[in-house]
Subunit: 146 residues, 2 copies
DNA sequence: TTAGATGCAAATAGTTTGCATTTGT
DNA sequence: ACAAATGCAAACTATTTGCATCTAA
């Protein structure tokens, strides 16, 4: 198990939740897929790997992980179904083409400073963030000039 | 009609879409509510203001506006239902409490530079962005110490 | 030991589709 | 004039709930 994965398991424990087979399986699946899966993707993979785990548990786990800021639902594709994104300790940001739904990932910085400022200003405790830019990818931009 | 609103209408026209009553009504509703509405909120308001507009048109319009980067669906509350956020010309960012779902908005900067860098690096044409931080708000942080 | 989590299947939303009709340009 | 968009209602799909059973701590 990767360090990142251990960290997530730790967060589960720390928050007082049980480390069940369902939760561990789903977390592992998310990690293995690079952390970009729709709920349907997860359901399908769970069915393939551990068919004894029920639909409901998948949704319950995804909800829990979201509350713990381990993952974040976001609308990437056709909308209507969320894509869950792993929120790593580090950075994870998107450029989403609003025409063809292509996703470009990029590493970014400059946000740690802002994060600290916000924590002080609003007295919050921040555990993750997601930055998304929207627009046209190179292909779509070329085909659709002003 | 505000300048911002005019701008949005302009974007619709420019993209070659008709300026129908349904679209205009829905856009107006979004503007009037400060740009933070779930699909259910919009449906309800449409029903109150212009009951002749059908459900389907509401969803079709929200999809269109999303493709045009006028709005963005995001998971703010209980998940499962999207909240649509107006993407203004300016800034509009969130801190979302993953415990009580409170949303704190903040103005931000430092992103224009990054936006330009990304446009050049990936040859994309960006039209909007959304930055969200996740964690515990002051209330929830106080009640849930390490 | 026992509160918390699970799996199942049925119920509930939320969203999309097909098509005849209407509307903006 | 006519392609594009609408409204309706029915079809679909994704998600949630209730409850008896099981399990991690």
């Amino acid at each position: 198990m990767s360090d990142q994965a251990n960290l997530r398991v730790q967060r589960l424990r720390d928050a007082g939740y049980k480390l069940t087979n369902a939760r561990l399986t789903i977390l592992t699946i998310l990690e293995q897929h690079g952390g970009h899966m729709t709920s349907a993707d997860v359901l399908e993979e769970v069915d393939a790997v551990a068919p004894e785990i029920g639909r409901a548990s998948v949704f319950r786990s995804l909800d829990l992980f979201t509350r713990l800021s381990l993952i974040r639902p976001t609308y990437i594709n056709d909308s209507s179904t969320p894509t869950y994104v792993l929120l790593p300790g580090g950075h994870h940001h998107h450029i989403i083409c609003t025409n063809c739904d292509r996703v470009i990932e990029f590493e970014d910085c400059h946000l740690e400073k802002l994060e600290h400022e916000l924590e002080q200003k609003f007295r919050v405790r921040l555990t993750g963030h997601l930055l998304e830019f929207y627009g046209l990818c190179d292909n779509c931009a070329a085909r659709q000039p002003d």
